[in-house]
Symmetry: C2
Subunit: 274 residues, 2 copies
Amino acid sequence: MATFQEKLTNAANKNNSLLCVGLDPDKALMPQIDVATFTTKIIDATSDLVCCYKPNLAFFEALGNEGLDALTKVVALAHAKGIPVIGDSKREDIGNSSRFYASRLFDMLGLDAVTVNPYMGSDSVGPFLEYKDKGVLVLCRTSNPGAADFQEQTVLVKGTKMPLFELVARTTVKWNRNGNIGLVAGATDPKAIGEIRKICQDMPILIPGVGAQAGDLETSIRFGVDSLGGGLMLNSSRQTIYASKGNDFAEASRKVAVDLRDKINAARLPALKK
Amino acid sequence: MATFQEKLTNAANKNNSLLCVGLDPDKALMPQIDVATFTTKIIDATSDLVCCYKPNLAFFEALGNEGLDALTKVVALAHAKGIPVIGDSKREDIGNSSRFYASRLFDMLGLDAVTVNPYMGSDSVGPFLEYKDKGVLVLCRTSNPGAADFQEQTVLVKGTKMPLFELVARTTVKWNRNGNIGLVAGATDPKAIGEIRKICQDMPILIPGVGAQAGDLETSIRFGVDSLGGGLMLNSSRQTIYASKGNDFAEASRKVAVDLRDKINAARLPALKK
């Protein structure tokens, strides 16, 4: 069976795209239709433009059974289109409990990758890493203002000063025995993305915050691409899926996705020529 | 409506207990009955011995609908017995998304408190804190081996060295405008509990790892009690709920809970006399 990394590379190559569309269904922003219809129509309209989808479980779980039903349909449809699905789940626990989260997210929901928070350390991330064909995207330098509270604090490691997020990146390199780790680094701090790329070499990096959160797309790509000019998943959620609140929401999301894919590819060009 | 803190104090006073029973239903360890029956029978057998229950959502969610049904029954029964329920959920996101987790956990599931991971900072924890009558227990120094990876790293804050978990504790004091924050600090490091108590004054501290994880119960209590000799929730999960795999599992869990409650109270005595 293909690994997450293989599925991601296949989709990125086939669609010539590093765009990840984030699926965050919020009834206050959506057209007045059910969530499964909303999210699957967006997939139908964009599946030739993306390298992956990223449903955020916060939004689906807040809808109870309707949300769970929609998430199941999102995963099935994306897979039918050949696109891997990252569950933006951000949950982990001590090792004994974390394996239940891993089983839920990978075995039951069929997600190809998940996001995890590193604060609890190796044994909390370990049960996810044991799924060798799945991707584990570790939060490193997130795109929100609160990232400054801890992630940017200076840590002293054997006499060397570095920001905490850099220690996280360095630690994940040691954890990566199965070659299935990636990192999360927001477009709000492209310089951090450059530092992280140097440390993690060719690990995939999920970059949220290129849309509504107003991160710097071009610099993030320039600093973030791997040695082959790829290795990035540039996520846009709200900007793309809420492009219109009318009946034309799917076509409107397609237009934004085309535009983002093209902007991303234009910014990749210099890197691809290297 | 009573706040989490009030409910916790009421239950601790009524039952003269700082014991928290962790509900982690694992079919490999349980008697062969359904999860709702298992967990509610344990509540029936122990509700006069505890100050709170702590269902770990990893275990319930891994069981799909059966788990969700059981969790709903756990919350309802605990509330009928006057005992508050901590959802050990450990999930949060950027502010915009975190509010959906808060709504799911507090509004839909009716939990009285939840655990959250601090790595993403203030805006990720903020939406939980806005529920003034709910408790928000921030992971500080967890009980697992991986806690050493980041939580114990030395950070430099304005020229002062401290472990990261101490910076987390200091930061939560600043966040605590609504007086509804507590901290999580494992019994595996009682000295850390003492440091955290000094910093957070009378915040409640959830202490996992007193049972199967073999933390130091007595020292944790001595270093951890607040100025009134309380302010702790000492959690035992596996040791208590898997005391027997036979038909006597509920009575067996009661025996362990009585023993733990008494051991905890014996260790509190010196503090109460202060």
